[in-house]
C-alpha cells in the first residue's frame, strides 16, 4: 500500500506566539536578524513570555546580557513598567512561578547541548523554546565559513535531537546602509544566509513600529509581515497589523 501521508516537519508540535502563530515548532532552528538595538531580544523575550504564560518551559541563554538585565527585561514585560528598586526585582525573580530559566554563561555549542539536557531534567521535559542571544557569542573565534557552519549546524542538531525550538538572534553584517531602519534581507545576515535554519526572520524599525518579515520558511510560505508596536521602556511589544 502506498504511503499517502508522510510524517512531515510541520507535524512537530507548533508553538503559540502572539504573531506568526504556529510558525515556530519544536525540533527546528529559527533565526531573527536585526541591526543592533532594534529590539530582537525584546521580540524573542515577548515570544518566550507568551509561551511561559501558557506553561511551555523556556530557556533563555543571554551570553552578552547579565542575568540581572535579563530578569529586569522580563519584569518590565510582565508588569509593563520597570521595577521600583532592586528589592522588588529580586523578590519577583525569586518568587514568580513561571517555567522560564536563564543562563548567562559563555557556552560552546557542546556546552549548550548539555545545558538543554540539564534543563530537561529541571522541567521534566525539554524546553519548548531555547533562545540564543546572540549567535555571535557562540561563533566567537570561529568566524571562518567552516567554523560558522559548524556552530549553526550544531544548533540545528540540538533543536532536532532535543526536540526544542532554538531561536538564535543574529547580527547583521557591518556596513549596511540605513541598518536598523530599512528592510532586512537574507544577504544582510552576518553569518548564516539560510543554509541551516528552517525559518529566518528579518526585523527593522518602521517609523515608530517594528517590522518583522518571514525571509525563509522551509515548510511553507515566506514573505509574511507583521508590524509591532514597541515601547522598550515599558517592555511593550505587541502585534499591530499585517
Amino acid at each position: 500500500m502506498p504511503v499517502l501521508v508522510k510524517a512531515r516537519k510541520q507535524d512537530a508540535e507548533p508553538l503559540p506566539t502572539p504573531w506568526f502563530d504556529g510558525l515556530l515548532r519544536r525540533g527546528i532552528l529559527a533565526e531573527i536578524g536585526a541591526a543592533p538595538n532594534v529590539g530582537k531580544s525584546f521580540v524573542a523575550l515577548r515570544w518566550a513570555s507568551h509561551l511561559a504564560e501558557r506553561g511551555f518551559p523556556i530557556l533563555y541563554v543571554g551570553m552578552d546580557t547579565s542575568l540581572r538585565d535579563q530578569g529586569e527585561r522580563m519584569f518590565t514585560m510582565w508588569h509593563k513598567r520597570t521595577p521600583y528598586d532592586e528589592e522588588e526585582l529580586e523578590r519577583w525573580l525569586h518568587d514568580t512561578e513561571i517555567p522560564m530559566r536563564w543562563c548567562d554563561l559563555n557556552l560552546s555549542t557542546g556546552a549548550l547541548n548539555e545545558l538543554v539536557q540539564a534543563e530537561a531534567i529541571y522541567f521534566g521535559q525539554t524546553p519548548a523554546l531555547v533562545i540564543v542571544d546572540v549567535l555571535a557569542e557562540l561563533v566567537q573565534g570561529e568566524e571562518s565559513v567552516e567554523g560558522v557552519s559548524a556552530v549553526v549546524s550544531d544548533l540545528k542538531t540540538i533543536a532536532r535531537e532535543q526536540h526544542c525550538c532554538v531561536v538564535a538572534l543574529h547580527h547583521l553584517r557591518d556596513g549596511i546602509a540605513g541598518a536598523g531602519n530599512s528592510p532586512v534581507s537574507l544577504q544582510d545576515f552576518r553569518y548564516e544566509k539560510g543554509r541551516y535554519a528552517e525559518i529566518m526572520f528579518g526585523l527593522w524599525r518602521a517609523g515608530n513600529d517594528l517590522a518583522m518579515r518571514v525571509l525563509k520558511n522551509r515548510s511553507g510560505a515566506r514573505g509574511a509581515e507583521a508590524y509591532l508596536t514597541f515601547d522598550p521602556a515599558r517592555g511593550y511589544v505587541e502585534y499591530s497589523h499585517a
Binding site: L67, H94, L105, E114, I121, Y122, G124
Partner: protein
C-alpha cells in the same frame, strides 16, 4: 503514564499510613509525618517509595528503598538528581541519595541529591549554575572521591563551591539523627544567620 504513576503514588501514600513499621523506620532516621507529607513518601508493600516530581508537580519517577537491609538498597528506573526544583539562586547542599536530601530539607536547608556517589553526570553542573554549592557526600572513600570530581566540574563552570567533609562513617542523615539540626549545620560549617530555609 505520569497519571498512572500519580495514582500509584497516592495508593502507596495511603498504604504507608497503615504501616506503623515503616513509620518507625522513618522515625529512627528522624523523618516524621511532615517529611511523609512534604515528599509524598509511600510504601509499596516491600519498599519505601520516594516520588520524583517535574516542574508542574507531576510524578515523573519513583525510587524504591529497601527497609530491611535487602539488596539492592535502591531500585531506580532513571539516573536523575532528586529535588532539582529546590535549586535556584541560593545556597544549595548537594547530597548523596534521597534520604539525605529529605533530611537536609527537614533541617531547613535547600538541597539537591544525586542518586549515589558513582552516579554524577557533569551536565548536572548546569543545574547549579546560579547557586553557592556545599558538597556534603558521605564520609567514606567513595563519597570523598565523588566530592573531588563534582568539585572540579562545578569549579570549571565558575560556580562557587565548597565541600563539607563529613566525619568518617557519617552522612547527612546520621548526623541529623545523632545531633539534630545543630550537629548537621555545624558539620556543614553553617550558622543560622546564613540559612536558606524552605522547610
Amino acid at each position: 503514564m505520569p497519571e498512572e504513576l500519580s495514582v500509584r503514588v497516592n495508593e502507596w501514600r495511603q498504604a504507608l499510613n497503615t504501616s506503623p513499621l515503616v513509620y518507625q523506620w522513618l522515625a529512627r532516621r528522624g523523618l516524621y509525618h511532615s517529611a511523609v507529607e512534604k515528599f509524598r513518601l509511600g510504601y509499596d508493600g516491600e519498599r519505601l517509595t520516594i516520588p520524583y516530581f517535574d516542574w508542574y508537580g507531576r510524578v515523573m519517577d519513583v525510587t524504591r528503598r529497601t527497609l530491611n537491609g535487602g539488596e539492592p538498597k535502591y531500585l531506580r528506573t532513571a539516573n536523575v538528581p532528586f529535588m532539582v526544583r529546590s535549586v535556584d539562586k541560593d545556597r544549595v547542599v548537594l547530597c548523596e541519595g534521597e534520604i539525605d536530601t529529605i533530611t537536609a530539607h527537614m533541617a531547613g536547608l535547600k538541597a539537591m541529591g544525586i542518586p549515589g556517589s558513582k552516579s554524577w553526570e557533569p551536565r548536572w553542573s548546569y543545574l547549579l549554575r546560579d547557586c553557592e554549592v556545599i558538597i556534603a557526600f558521605d564520609g567514606d572513600n567513595e563519597g570523598r572521591r565523588a566530592t573531588m570530581q563534582v568539585y572540579r566540574d562545578l569549579k570549571s563552570l565558575g560556580i562557587a563551591v565548597s565541600s563539607a567533609t563529613l566525619p568518617d562513617g557519617e552522612d547527612i542523615n546520621s548526623l541529623w539523627t545523632k545531633g539534630g539540626k545543630d550537629a548537621l549545620w555545624a558539620s556543614l560549617r553553617l550558622t543560622s544567620g546564613r540559612a536558606n530555609t524552605n522547610a
